[in-house]
Structures are given as C-alpha cells and as structure tokens.
Subunit: 417 residues, 2 copies
C-alpha cells in the first residue's frame, strides 16, 4: 500500500468512526478517557522503553538539549498526561447542547444543537504528550482524530497509540476513533491535508514554517496560529504601579511563548515617568531594549527599526515606542499586531471602552498581563491551540472550537404556506 | 489602472473603512439603512431607466424570460428593497454583544465580545436586489463590503451604488464602507478572492459552477452553499396525515429552491399505506416519480438509478426509496445527502431523538416541511445565504454569521504567577 492509499484508508476509517462517535454517550467518552489514563500509568515501562529509542536516535541526529527534553517521556510526564485525561473527563460534554430554542410565528420550534466537526487532523512536532492531549480533546468533543506527530517521536507515538486503541476497545468505542499515522513518510502530511471527503479540519501545532506550509496547501479549513506580536499600551491615565507590573509580567514571565509582550507602547505623558524604572527592571532581567527616537532620548536603548515593530522575538528583547495617545497606539497595533493579544493599562473608563471595542485582536485586555491569553487561564479547562484567525474559532481553542452547530426544527406536521 | 491595481485599491479602501465601521454606533448604522431606503424610493425613476439599459442589453443577448424577470427593477421591487432595509434597521445590532463574562480563580474577568469579520466580498449573479440586501447586512454587522454583481446587471448595480454612497455620506459614514465593483472584467473576481490582506471572507451567491470555481481558487475563507439534496423520511411510527402533508409541501411548495425535497425515504411498514396516496397527489401536481425496486412493485414509477440518489433536481422530479427503518434511512442520508436539510416524520420520541442527534445536516427536522430551512422562517430577520459547511456558519446565515468573537479580559493590574 502506498502512502496515498494508506492515508485514504485512515480517512475512510476515521469518517466511519466519526459516525459512531456521534452516537457515543457522555459516559462512554468519559470511560474511555479514564481507561486511557489508567492504561498510560500501567504501561509506563513500555512507554519509557519505546521513548528511549527515540531519545537515542535523537541524540545520534544531534537534537539539542531543549528538544530532547521536550521529547522525553518521564514518570512525571506520564502522571501529567493521566491527570490531563481525568480533567478532560470532568469537563462538561459540549455535544448535544441545545440553545436558542424558540417558537416562531409559523408554529415551528427552532433551536441550535452543538455537534462535532467530524474528523480532525492534527499535525505536530516533537512532544509526544500532544498525542494524548489531542486524542482526548477530539474524543470528548465527539470527533474522530488522525494524529500525525513528528518523526523524531515515532516510537513513542506508536506506543501511545497502542494505549489509546486499548482504551477505546475496552469501552466498546471504535479503535479507529483515534488513529496515529504509522508512517514517517513526509508525503503523509500532504495527503492528510488534501482529503476533504474524510477530514473536516486540520490543526497544525508547531513552528511558523510548518503552519504556513500547511495553510498554503490545505484543501480543508485550518485552525491556525501564526505570530504572536503582542502589545501593552501604557495610557495617559495609567496607574504607575499597574503599568510597571503588567509590562514586566507580560515580557519576562516567559520569553518563548506566543502571548509574551513584544512591543511596548507608551503615551508621551507617561514615558518620562515609567520608562526609566522599566529600563532598570528589564535590564536586571537581561532584556535587551530597542526604542524609537523619543525612547532613545529618554533611556539607553538600541535603535528599533521598522523590522522590529513587525517581529515576534520569542526572546528577551523588547521594542518600545512612545506614542501621542490611544489613537496612535491603536493605529500602531492595527498596522503591526498579529492580532493575538493586546493590553491597555489605564484608569480611564472611556479609553478602556474604546480600546476593547476597536482593537481587533483575539484577546483584548485592560490592566492585565498578556500572559493570561491561555485556555486554562480563561477557564476553558483544556486547549488545543490558539487561533489567530477570525473565522470559526478565535483565541484559545477548547472543546467548543472543535464543534459546530446545526439547526433543529420541531413541528407537528407543519408545512410552509 | 489595471484590474489588479483597481481591486487592490478597493481592498485597501475597504480595510480602512472597516476600521471606521467598528467605531460606528448602532444609531449611525440604522440611520444609514433608513437613509438608503428613502434614497431608493426617491431615485426610482433613475433606477428604472438604468435598469432598462440592462434589460435591453439582456434581450439582445438572448436572456430567457425568467432571467429577465430576475433582472428587472420594478416599483414593487424598489418598495421591497426599501422595506427590507427598514427591517434590517429594526434588527438587534450583533456587534459589541458581551457574553460569558465571568471571574476566574486568578481574579481576572473574562468574556467574549462579538465583532465584525472585517471586509466581506460578495460575488453574485443577475438579481440587482442582492446589491442592497448584501450592503445592508454587511453594514448592520459592521463589515465593509465589496460587491461584485453580474455583468448583465452592470447599469442597475452602478445606479444602486450611487444611492448607497449618498446614504452613507449623508450620515457621515465612509462612502467606501460599501463598494460596488465598477468593472465587468472577469479578472476582478480572481483578484477579489485572492487578497487575504484586504478581504476576510467571500460569500458567493449563484449557481453551483460559480461557487465551486470560487471555492477552488479562493485564498480566503468562503461561506458557501453547494447542493441541496434534501430528504424526508417517513418512519414506521409516522402519522399518516403528517407524512402526506410534509412530503407534499416539501416537494411541491417550490421546485427550484435548495430546501425542496429531492429524495423521499419510506419505512417498509408504511410504504404500502402512504405511497399510493402520495403517487396520486404528486402526479396531479405533475411531479415525475422515480423509485427503487420495492417502490416499483407498489406504485407506477420510473426506475431510480444510483445517479438519482445523488442528484439535486431543482425540478418536479422525486426519487423514492423504501428502507427497512430509521437506520437504513440515516445510512442513505449519510451517503447521499448534501447535508443541507433532512426531516423525519414520526410520532416516536426515541426515534426522533436519534434522528436529531445523528443526522449530520445543517437543518434536521421532525414533522416539519424541509421548506422551513430559511433565515426568515428561523427568525433570523434576514439571510445572506445558507451555508452547507460546518465551519464558522452553518445553515441559514443572518447577521451573526457575519461576525466573530474576541476574548476580552478585565483586570486591576493582574499578573500571571
């Protein structure tokens, strides 16, 4: 069987399984999740020994320490996956929820019912725990899943796939409800993203290059997350302490994450007050500062170029621009932001109301750190990714982002006049 | 200026206008809609004389009577457009609606705010009233619009465009909030669907060929509507009168519409009772019947081939299949339906509950005519089309389908630990 045939078979099986999953009760799905948690704990030796093969291969291939760390399956990692599964079992089942049910003048009763998307394809890189996360979120939301992990985690993912299969079978759900692609052939990805008959949506998780490549060639919708060029704007009416706290936390809490601050905008009236203190605190943390001309006149910074405003550093670097006020701040955001997360620091009610209404990003905040833009912090209970698109799902994507709605109509023999 | 440059200019202007529209109040938008209604009524002579040019050209080009009828702007048509505008002005503004606002353990307050999609491109064929409908729905939902009508309505659409511009200007909204493409060059469509920087979504309205072509080449999301192969299933536990009424209305209320019945499924236990009566009534209406083998044994019908099950007739033809029960009915629907609208006729609570949960179509009905699948019948107040996709909008698309949501976060200097 060549790759095309193999992927088509997975697709057909997934589509068939998705029809079974629609019938699965909440209890069925939860039992499968709990069975998988137990299965992982019971299979820890097996998982670690398969993972050791990937780690050995990774070392041979020269993966750096950080990558090997992400690849490793440890006892703590297994406990974390099991805990995650039990949490997802505890979340409310989104499927079947009926909302907006009402009688219309014709006498029919119309509402919306929440339904799975169908078959979800997930393409990710090294971390094997994504296999379990993704399987669990798709299962709970009634979607069949086709998971394609990185080739560097091939042994680990196949070992996890066996646990998933066993757990599904143990509760009578189709084993093909979650399928882990068994070939490391790169063409498998190309096939997976081009089977609209079998796959309803693709979720790529990984670097920007991977996501752009997939978006470019996908023949089905993609829930994607590109850059996170996030801004904090310190307004004329900002509270000094909040401005310092929010800026510092947004930039330095973690550097390599999409919701970290990359460009600080400061109202001219505040700049002389807050910039010196911020420069001291950020320099202590080892953050390199790059500033516009006005910033350069106030504190010691490197020169920020046009390119800096459009860069997601994912590193201890911060670009700073002094602006005339909220209008210039919002103009800058409209031009350079990746529409991920922006926060204003202000005590002014009307300014905050404008910022909330007019800034077109997936998360817009007042007096809060951009680091809060996260499915868990938002109370979604789980997160399959963050969408920077406006279509379908936007911002942190939990179970609801993996669903759609259909209209349901109840009548008593009603006909249209 | 070549077509590419021209469309790029429209795109840039639309993007800029969309930022202004986000700031527009509900009152502003409603005043523009009411001003446009008045403008149309005051410009009726101008509209009819420009329309006459299109009609003359259409006759010369050999358009048939039905097409000329759709193209014509009459006094009644103008009154209808004005009435539609006043209705849309009366609808609740979806923009800015905040839902699910709650405090999280960290102390931040998180909710969702409904926002416009941004810039909507609409591509349609002859009927000039779509120009007004589409302009009104986009405006009310805070979206800038680029409208590309059929070349056969070019004079009419430009006359309508002037009314729209005047109405926008009269209330101080940007005239570029709604732009009607002024060139009939076919390349304009190709450009419009391939400007992700300026256009957020494309809505094609027209024949299947147009929609498939656009979906194939679009570089932005498309809200689309392909086939409407709708089913009625007369269950074992159907009420006889309701079965007859719902089937008849679904098939014969109108033939050329997407929510018309195309395939009737009948439980074997009911077939002998209902088919003879239905055959008589449908034949009286001039409906051609095509049946499976079992149907052929019960009533006089032509032979239904495999192709019939997969055909949207949009004509007085009905294919009929006798099935063993609800499972075979749902299997048939899963295989052949276009996932538009399906209805079950049954008095059985459990069967209806299964049908509602398991049938994966944009509208699923119990004891109601498929003809109800319509934005107005569902109380949406307006409809820009029906989506047969599961992604973003599904089923009749009203104002809400033209919006997205963003997360908003309120804090008091909150930082993440």
């Amino acid at each position: 069987m060549n790759v095309k045939e193999y992927m088509n078979t997975l697709g057909q099986q997934a589509r068939a399984a998705s029809r079974e999953l629609v019938k699965a009760t909440t209890a069925d799905k939860n039992r499968a999740l709990l069975a998988l948690a137990n299965q992982l704990e019971q299979s820890s030796e097996q998982l670690k020994s398969e993972n050791a093969k990937d780690l050995a291969q990774g070392k041979k291939n020269g993966l750096d320490a950080a990558m090997l760390d992400r690849l490793a399956i440890t006892d703590a990692g297994i406990a974390g996956m099991a805990e995650g599964l039990r949490q997802i079992a505890n979340l409310q089942d989104p499927i079947g929820e009926i909302t907006d049910m009402r009688f219309l003048p014709s006498g029919i009763q119309v509402g919306k019912m929440r339904v799975p998307l169908g078959v979800v394809g997930i393409i990710y890189e090294s971390r094997p725990n994504v296999t379990i996360d993704a399987a669990a979120l798709c299962l709970k939301s009634g979607n069949a899943a086709i998971l394609r992990g990185g080739s560097e985690a091939a042994f680990s993912n196949q070992a996890l796939a066996i646990c998933i299969k066993d757990a599904l079978a143990s509760v009578g759900l189709p084993e093909t409800a979650v399928q882990v692609v068994a070939t490391t052939d790169r063409d498998a990805v190309g096939e997976l993203i081009a089977m609209p008959a079998f796959v309803d949506v693709i979720i790529p998780r990984g670097g920007k290059g991977l996501i752009e490549r997939i978006s470019e060639h996908a023949r089905v919708p993609v829930i994607k997350h590109l850059d996170g060029i996030c801004h904090v704007y310190i307004d004329d009416d900002a509270n000094y302490d909040k401005a310092i706290k929010v800026t510092l936390n947004s930039k330095t809490h973690r550097y390599g994450v999409c919701n970290a601050l990359e460009t600080l905008l400061v109202a001219e009236s505040q700049a002389k007050k807050v910039l010196p203190e911020l420069a001291t605190l950020l320099s202590e943390k080892g953050v390199e500062l790059r500033g516009c001309e006005k910033t350069q006149a106030m504190i010691e910074v490197n020169v920020a170029t046009e390119e800096d405003w459009a860069t997601e550093y994912l590193a201890p670097i911060l670009s700073i621009k002094v602006v005339s006020g909220v209008d210039e701040a919002m103009d800058h955001i409209a031009q350079y932001s990746s529409a991920h997360t922006e926060s204003i620091v202000t005590e002014n009610f009307s300014t905050s109301r404008r910022f909330l209404a007019e800034v077109d990003s997936s998360s817009v905040m007042v007096n809060a750190s951009t680091r809060f833009a996260d499915g868990f912090e938002y109370g979604l209970g789980a997160e399959i990714g963050i969408s920077t698109d406006k279509f379908h799902a936007r911002g942190p994507v939990g179970l609801e982002g993996l669903t759609s709605q259909k209209y349901i109509v109840l009548g008593d023999g009603h006909i249209r006049n």
